[in-house]
């Protein structure tokens, strides 16, 4: 408890060291003083607001003035296709600019209960209005995605966690790129395309940064292509971008075997692939010999509900216990037992949900493999109990 003046100075020193190590000493001293004054002030005011924090009162005025939790406000919602929409979100103080291709964790209250999910940021950083965008496709049994696309309204406050993910372009980007996407897998790639193409255009467009981009995108029909009109316009504007749309309802699925026809030099390009699990698996097999040229991003859960016997799970920090079935992820078991479980993508990618195992073993629901030793950090969203389990959550 207690962000006291000491914390304020600690933070100030941290800021000073971090900034000074980049050679920005004057900026550093300014930031350090600001941080110390602010920290000291918060510490002093905290004596007046105990047991609450000053921000608990400040957020009565503006919900985004919340220092310990990052929040955002949905400013606008634009329909992209019949079942996809882009949400423009204004993040509160403390948002760190993302890299194109990264995702953000977002916590949404639906019927009073909070649900966390991860979505790719669909635009490049540095929007003039300071907002970020995510583009969500409503999946049939997706509680959160359907809510965001169909029910959410501008003005809604959402919880955010900083951007993360390694599905990003290196700096400088390679000369020749191949993007292979399907469905809402276009969203991180759209952010990358803008990062690649439009900064060059902004500088006069004389010297594009990238020699050659090929985008192979699959969607059921032309109308289902998220950002379809924009992608086509970009293709018309930038000769170095080539777009191939595969309309799978009429043309069937795109197979790795189709690659040489569509992009004869695919093997010389660095590829970024984002789509359903089956597509990623095929890509990984296809690029087996040169995996260093392949980057993949999952965006939909595939949880084989193959489970074993399950067991009694004890959440040591919150002091709750529950009987979990062998096919139920610890995350769900904990949430149902009223534990404040950290969570994110719910499919074993983002590692937001990890907890330290104190005793017992867990089954990885993706592979069926049983593992775990005391002290291991396990991903609760893809791990189920195998016998009695204790976890520090």
């Amino acid at each position: 408890m207690g962000a006291g003046p000491i914390d304020g100075w600690d933070r100030a020193v941290d800021v000073l060291v971090a900034e000074a190590s980049h050679g920005r000493f004057w900026a550093a001293s300014g930031a350090a003083v600001e941080s110390a004054v602010l920290g000291g002030l918060v510490g002093a005011v905290r004596w007046l607001t105990t047991p609450l924090f000053p921000e608990d009162y400040l957020s009565l005025v503006n919900p985004l003035w919340c220092g310990r939790e990052l929040r955002g406000r949905i400013e606008a919602i634009h329909a992209e296709t019949a079942d996809a929409a882009t949400l423009v979100i204004r993040p509160g103080r403390g948002w760190i600019p993302h890299k194109p291709g990264q995702w953000v964790r977002i916590g949404v209250d639906i019927e009073g209960a909070r649900h966390w999910r991860t979505y790719s940021l669909s635009g490049p950083p540095g929007r003039p209005d300071g907002c970020i965008t995510i583009t969500v496709k409503a999946v049939p049994d997706g509680l959160v995605s359907r809510h965001l696309v169909r029910q959410a309204a501008p003005g809604t406050i959402v919880e955010l966690a900083g951007p993360d993910g390694s599905f990003v372009l290196p700096e400088p980007p390679p000369r020749r790129l191949l993007f292979l996407t399907a469905g809402s897998g276009i969203t991180p790639v759209r952010a990358m395309l803008h990062g690649l193409l439009t900064p060059a255009a902004a500088r006069g467009g004389a010297k594009p940064r990238v020699a050659d981009v090929v985008l192979l995108h699959s969607a059921p029909t032309s109308a289902d292509v998220i950002f379809g009109a924009e992608l086509r316009a970009l293709t018309a504007r930038f000769p170095n971008l080539r777009l191939y749309e595969r309309h799978t309802r009429t043309e069937g699925r795109l197979r790795p075997g189709d690659l040489p026809d569509l992009c004869p030099d695919w093997a010389e390009r660095t590829a970024w692939v984002c789509g359903p699990a089956g597509m990623l698996q095929e890509a990984e097999e296809h690029w087996a010999g040169s995996l260093d040229r392949l980057h993949v991003e999952h965006f939909r859960p595939v949880l084989p509900r193959a489970g074993g016997e399950g067991g009694r799970v004890r959440f040591t920090k919150s002091g709750r216990e529950t009987d979990a079935e062998g096919g139920t992820p610890l995350l769900i078991a904990g949430e149902d037992a009223g534990v404040l479980m950290p969570s994110g993508c719910r499919m074993g990618i983002c590692h937001s949900c990890v907890g330290r195992l104190t005793s017992g073993q867990v089954r990885d629901l993706r592979t069926g493999q049983i593992h775990g030793e005391a002290g291991d950090l396990v991903q609760t969203c893809v791990s189920a109990a195998v016998g009695p389990v204790e976890i520090e959550l």
């Binding site: 408890m1 004596w47 007046l48 105990t50 047991p51 609450l52 608990d56 009162y57 009565l60 939790e69 209250d109 019927e111 009073g112 209960a113 909070r114 649900h115 920090k317 919150s318 949430e335 009223g338 534990v339 404040l340 479980m341």
Partner: protein, 370 residues
Amino acid sequence: MATTARLSHADVEEFGRELDRIRDEILASLGKKDAQYIRGVIAAQRKLELGGRVLLFASWLPPAWVAGTAALATAKILENMEIGHNVLHGQWDWMRDPKIHSTTWESDIVSPSAQWKHSHNVVHHTWTNVLGKDRDLGYTLLRVSPGQRWHPVYLLQPIYNVLLALVFEYGIALYDLEVERIPAGDKSLKETSTQLRAIAGKVRRQIVKDYLAFPLLAGPGFVPVLLANLTANLTRNVWAHTIIFCGHFPEGAEVFTEEQLEGETRGEWYVRQLLGSCNIDGGRLLHLMSGNLSHQIEHHLFPDMPSNRYAEIAPRIRALCERFGLSYTSGSLARQTGSVYKRILRLAFPGPRQHAEPAAPPAPDLQAVI
């Protein structure tokens, strides 16, 4: 006495199943409206507190002093009862909002949340009105049941009960320490000193806030602000004491022995919670200000059900009790308070002789409530 003596085992279990059905139905229907309710109460409480403290900067004006003190006392009561008590019961955990969660909440009373949750949620709600087990006041400090052996010290209980009301939050904090377990070796001195330090930390913060920082900020208004804050804290203490005593000690509340709890089924547990609790009749304001402990019966049957739903199920519980011939004790605040004080006064003296053993059922399935 012993209403349950008339009930067959099958009836008790059917009664329990009916209650389970009500519980499942309500918990399944929790949603946006409930979330808006608790967020609304929290926001109103914070605004009221801010308003009160601001008004007190003009506390040299008597009307400002009165209005500021009233606002602050009201805010402290809301924080303590409708918000703190119920959040710490886990009533709002289903929202998964870390700001309104039993594992993160810290209340504006001197008991550290973790200690309070143990002695209240675990000990009191499990062992409700069981002699020698329910430590929820009374059973150690006060004589509230003829089943407790009389001692001359109880002659003073009408007086020290009033003193206890004034410093109620400190009483609860010390009570949570369970010092009587130390001599028997049930509890180590080290654990006790760790707990004491946690209490001291909260006491220090409250004293600095209410009796130093805000008075100092008021400058020349130091004394009136200090007195206002003191009044608000005392008011909250007396109010909480009154509501809590009205919940378990008026005429009609039954007391149980440990033997009765052996092999207690879920149905029997429900019956004991019902017979050991008393409601206070009143309007919505009373329910709000009492943290819905005016629905003490509903609260004891379903301690983790959001409090805003108790009023809705109360008529159904009452009807259920009528159907099974179980007593459902309720009365006005004045009547219940009078009844409590009468009992404390009467039991300060020896006797009365007990005629029959109270013959209610009980014991656990206790895990089900913890």
